[in-house]
């Protein structure tokens, strides 16, 4: 009897304890979400605790996000908080905001970040339609990201367009996604990017080619030969092939050492300096007698900087 009474008492305490804890949490959420309605620069003071609370805070935050009477800024910070929690409950309201043509464009763009990672195949036509109608390049890029989880054919088309029409971060991101969507075409896109991409995109392509074993160096050497008047492309190819340290590439690098472009012949010298001396020294003896000053100077530099076997 005593035991039963004890258990009853314990269960009662647990029940009331959890009810009080839930009431306290609910109060905390209400208070923090309310603060977000008027918060300024200090919004992280309220957003960070809400992200920590997570799922229980989502319904109240959604109310903020959808409340068109609130200032755009305060709706936006509520959306950013929701995006960070990344609850499945946020998917539908986020889609509603995204497809609402009356909605503030900034708010619609922010909603895209909350939809990443969710299956959006049921929305593919609407998303593609929205992508085509959108003019802002950053918004377009975000929508292309959503298309990856809606329909890869549309996503490919979107990234193809962004790659060919944009530069900087957007072009770089498009290249990254084109290579992910069709790995079989990755090398084609990287070769294209080192010739036509902006600095950032060409750097990504160079790094990818350096670490890839799936391409024939001959393809790059052909591009080098065709880019006779473009020292930046030639430099990039010497830079990429120079990182590979393959003995077969040494004749190409020695040829590049004679290239009149300062960018190209200096990069070739640095690339050759990574090879073992046994491979390189005999050829350098010849180059030391070359008729061109810079070739002789680079050969001399290599002889004093080459790795000893």
């Amino acid at each position: 009897m005593n035991n039963k009474a004890g258990i009853f008492l314990l269960l009662t305490l647990i029940f009331y304890g959890s009810t009080i804890a839930a009431q306290n949490l609910s109060k905390d959420i209400d208070s923090l979400v309310n603060e977000l309605k008027t918060a300024g620069r200090n919004w992280n003071d309220f957003s960070v605790p809400l992200i920590k609370i997570g799922e229980p805070a989502v319904p109240a935050l959604i109310k903020n996000a959808e409340d068109k009477n609130l200032p755009v800024w305060n709706r936006r910070i509520s959306i950013i908080t929701l995006n960070n929690i990344h609850s499945p409950k946020w998917k539908k309201p986020a889609l509603r905001i995204l497809f609402d043509e009356e909605e503030d464009p900034g708010i619609r763009n922010h909603a895209t970040a909350g939809l990443t990672g969710f299956d959006l195949s049921s929305e593919k036509e609407k998303l593609w339609d929205l992508y085509q109608k959108t003019e802002n390049q950053f918004y377009k890029s975000n929508l292309a990201g959503l298309l990856v989880n809606a329909d890869t054919v549309y996503a490919y088309q979107a990234y193809h367009e962004l790659y060919t029409t944009q530069d900087g971060h957007i072009q770089r991101n498009a290249l990254l996604n084109l290579a992910k969507l069709k790995p079989g075409e990755a090398i084609y896109w990287y070769l294209n990017a080192i010739q036509n991409g902006s600095w950032m995109t060409a750097n990504l392509a160079s790094d990818s080619l350096i670490s890839s074993n799936n391409f024939n160096a001959r393809e790059l050497i052909n591009v080098y030969s065709q880019a006779e008047n473009n020292e930046k492309i030639q430099w990039r190819i010497v830079y990429i092939l120079g990182q590979r340290k393959e003995p077969d590439l040494l004749p190409f690098l020695l040829e590049a050492l004679k290239n009149k472009s300062w960018l190209v012949h200096n990069e070739a010298a640095v690339a050759i300096s990574r090879y073992e001396s046994g491979l390189v020294l005999p050829m350098l003896q010849e180059l030391k007698k070359d008729s061109l000053d810079f070739v002789r100077q680079n050969a001399k530099w290599l002889m004093s900087n080459i790795k000893l076997d």
Partner: protein, 360 residues
Amino acid sequence: MIKKGTGIELINCISTALFVNLIKPIIMYKLYFILIFVLLCACVNNRYKNTLPKVKTEKLKLLPEFYFEKPTLNSPSVNENSRELILLKSKDGKFFWMDGTVENGEPFNLKKQLFGKGNQFTADDKDFPTFAKTGIHSTKELINTKIITGKSVSQITVDGRPWASSGVGFLAEDETIMSVIYADNITVDKINLTHADIARPLFHFWNVARNFDNLNPDLNANKTPEIEALIYNGNEVKFKIQGSRGWQESIFNDEILGTGHLEFWRELNPDELDFLQSKYSNLSPQQFQFLTNKLSHIHTGEMVFFYINRYGFYEGHNEYRPDPISVVIIFGLTTIEKVHKAVGGDLYSYFNKHFTQNPN
């Protein structure tokens, strides 16, 4: 006693005399600390040719003390504790001293929100040993420089040209990292200064600006002075600081980042203007204005202060370049007559010409 004889005998005599008179007593009397001191002195590199006047600390009072009249002591000055002190003028016409010492301090890293002094003193001795010791590059070392901070000079050049790592670029399209370092090294050598000499006033400014920000919260609102100018070698150097969002990455493989737009300027005095008018009477009014503006005005960012000290790099011809000639004139490190002579008597062409000649 040194006898007359061959060169080798002379060297033998000198080394014997050195050993008997200096080294032997040190060993005999176990005065090793003297030896260590001498060795340390030999190791300490003197990267400055321009020495700062010395001042006794008791002769001046640092902020929050003010002077209502301009102190007669030279600014900058260095005290007995090797602190470098700068005189500033507030907008309400008062003067005060602040510590602007150039030194290595806590990290300066915008990405990590660290706002220490950073490495203001140590140069890149791995890539430029002579420069790190003397403050001036050896041409031979520049000819043989293919890699800086682990990056090839070609890659640094590609990254530094316009529309690469920055829209404006660190170099003009026809310049290379080495052509710019080489040309500026020639200029600085000709005006008989070092790159460390030129970085120093820029760091003095940067350090007092940093100090001032740090001090602001502790100062009474009514006492907070708004700085109008730095008093530097007798000149009133005015400035403007403007921050920006985010930061600019370095083209070298280093920790240097930049975020600010900085402007420095001073009025050229009548003697300087007379000199320029007499030597450059062939210039049109617009060309003359261009020249005087170049000599008296700099627009730059803070990352180049670190570049100058570490690599002797002032950036190429872009809108952020603090030309060494402009720095020495604005901060009064030398005279317009001397820089006019150093650049072959044509400052106008000097400021217009890109540096396209690589060291060879």
